[in-house]
Amino acid sequence: MPAKNYASTRYSELSEINADNVKNLQVAFTFSTGVNRGQEAAPLVSGSTMYVLSPYPNVLFALDLSKPGAPPKWKYEPNPQPAAQGVACCDVVNRGPVLANGKIYFNTLDGNTIALDAENGKEIWKTKVGNINVGETITMAPLVVKDKVLVGNSGGEFGVRGWLQALDAYTGKPVWKAYSTGPDKDVLIGPDFKPFYEIDRGEDLGTKTWPPEAWKQGGGAAWGWISYDPDSNLIYYGTGNPGPWNSDQRPGDNKWTSGIFARDADTGQARWAYQWSPHDIFDWDGINEQILLDMEWQGQTRKVLVRPERNGYLYILDRTTGEVLSATAYSEVNAVSGIDLKTGRPQYVDSKKPQLNKVVRDICPNASGAKDWNPSAYSHKTGFLYIPHANLCMDLQHSEVNYIAGTPYVGAEARFKAGPGGNRGVVDAWDVQQARSVWSIKEKYPVWSGALATAGDVVFYGTMEGWFKAVHAVTGQVLWQFKTSSGIIGQPTTYRGPDGHQYVAILSGVGGWAGAIVSGDLDPRDATAALGFVNAMADLKDETTKGGTLYVFRLP
């Protein structure tokens, strides 16, 4: 799976490549996906086969690692509906496939989940789960838990109602579906639901924390990462921002958007829920990764869940109860002054709230947050969480005339810009126990790639200029770097090849929300394009061009 394990540590025990010899890494082979859009997928390996999934049109390639140059064994083309491209909010990305039960599972932009025979690429089943006609797309990597494939939708921008559903891994038949908004029966909230905080208890809060019926177009799409704890049989995943109403048109907490659910993997029944950003006003999707750790906490071993959240806080939750043990700012934050540990509530700063007819300046973090979808890695050796993230703030105002489907309207005009220090990206090594940054690497652009940590004390990540970097897990010293053909927004993975040696793989190809200026050919003069991201990325076109190439490295 892209996250390496159910705990989502992205930590590999392989250590042939280590801090001493990583400087000697060389290209072993490359492969073009043939699609020059944002490459967010993780290359996966099983046996002597590597699986690479392209952005829309979501072509899956199987490469034969036992042969020189790793030629393709087969490819599978799902031919998604072209109209899906017009529905995708932020580039036509896909976050990768997942391997289980001798099958490879993945989602297509037009809302299908597909299972292939991992050996020969033969389609075993294909289930339509999303409807692009109402604005639903799917970009997330599924997770397989026992005999179920878990899939969630994207499309909060179109007012879709978020859901996560479980499909039978062998037949593709829907087993359960849990909405993020609406009455308890739709959200799969029943007698087992025991949220930690008082405010999350009560009947049908998924409707009562909204104006009548607004929850029907409430957002809360589940387009991010899912973790799983086999001991408790609970899955954990986040929900997207509420939408598409103005925040002042949806008073209330807008449950269960911009939050997290713990659910029974077999039945989907919710065990607890918590909102990172109740009544979100900044587009802070709560869909980031959650790393499951067992750690010492004030003299006791606690089963925790670590979440570097959009709002700039790093949360440690008791994953059995949903209690927030700590929440510490890991990035520049001025829109939230703190998280009240008694109530679990963030304290929004009034002067940074968006207002009609007024420019609100220097809101930190910006709408994409201190960290977006791109996942962190955790090393048990160092006890550090390696967080690739952004350092961005924004100015917001409602003024720009726009139109859609024949209807003129007034849009929110957002302009993203570098946060304090001027660097737009950061990689932090975060000491989870001490709740502080140990070292920090400043990057020119937001770091939009995932991280990978290994037992060789090396941490890998990529930059939007196209550098693939190996840094020392303890000191942060850059040990090696290689310039790929395009900016990197993918997820590095490592594996032991059929020859017994360790390899490191990354897809290069800039795009995504942050890189849409390049992958979508946006005009750098359109400061508010890509929902404001272009303002912060105007110079990226001078640094890199579109791409779609797999790079695999090994020692000589």
Binding site: G159, P244, H398, P408
Partner: protein, 275 residues
């Protein structure tokens, strides 16, 4: 005969070349294939009809690229070079160069005939009745009436209708108008051309009234000038379109009237009752 033959051939050849040249001019349009009253693939929308007029004026042949109007429409169509003109754009839209406006319309209150009609956004009726607004879906973006209601803290009785709707249905944005006729809501606050066209097609008689004030504060216009859009650099094409729009003004007016597009006089300070 021997000498005449090549001569006439030459002439025929020249005529043929002229004919080819005259027909070679394409007016390449990007439009939504399923969005009446604006456009559809059958060419039944008022924008289709106006485009046909302009093509006649420019002696060009219309070629459509059909593309659902979603976020990225301009980028994926006009800016990607699939076409040269997109009709129905708000004047001075930042990402385009736009022609002189060919009409000005307004958001309207849509009510059932014989039932109370709001006199303005400040009418208390809007607090009591169930009010539908169009939803844009873009984060933080909403129609001016939706913003205006929120500003007045009119929340609980407001319902949303997506401008996208379910694209499998015909003309998905029409649902908000049907909702008034069906008694699902009491009042819709919808963009004029949509209300004008679908308002007439309901079995329940509906009334339209322009939303006032025309500007609800400096940032919330209820009226918009509508133009044709071209790429920023295509100034020559824009000039031609401006001329053609001017030449065909009476016919364009007739089309807009036929489709029931509520129009507001350019210099009116407040919109009066609609014809």
């Amino acid at each position: 005969m021997c000498s005449a033959f090549p001569k006439s051939m030459l002439l025929a050849g020249a005529l043929l070349a002229m004919a080819v040249h005259a027909q070679a001019r394409d007016l390449r349009i990007c439009a939504d294939p399923n969005n009446l009253p604006f456009s559809n693939q059958a060419g039944e929308g008022f924008e289709n009809k106006i485009v046909a007029l302009l093509a006649k004026e420019l002696k060009a042949e219309v070629h459509y690229t059909w593309w659902a109007q979603r976020r990225g429409f301009i980028r994926n169509t006009l800016k990607a070079g699939l076409c040269d003109v997109v009709p129905g754009m708000p004047a001075n839209l930042e990402m385009l160069r736009t022609t002189a406006p060919y009409y000005r319309s307004t958001y309207v209150f849509v009510t059932r005939a014989g039932e109370p009609q709001p006199t303005s956004l400040n009418d208390d009726l809007l607090r009591r009745a169930t009010v539908g607004v169009q939803m844009i879906g873009d984060d933080g973006s909403n129609t001016p009436p939706a913003h205006a209601l929120a500003e007045r803290n009119i929340v609980e009785n407001v319902r949303g209708y997506s401008v996208y709707g379910d694209y499998r249905e015909t003309s998905p944005p029409a649902r908000i108008i049907e909702a008034v006729a069906n008694h699902e809501i009491d009042i819709a606050i919808a963009w004029g051309p949509l209300a004008g066209y679908f308002g007439r097609r309901q079995s329940t008689p509906l009334l339209l009234r322009p939303v006032t004030p025309q500007f609800d504060g400096p940032k919330l216009p209820m009226v918009f000038d509508i133009s044709m859009g071209v790429r920023r650099e295509d100034t020559a094409l824009r000039a031609e379109l401006d001329d053609a729009l001017e030449q065909r003004r009476p016919e364009i007016e007739a089309i807009l009237a036929e489709f029931g597009v509520p129009r507001v006089a350019k210099n009116s300070t407040h919109a009066g009752a609609l014809p």
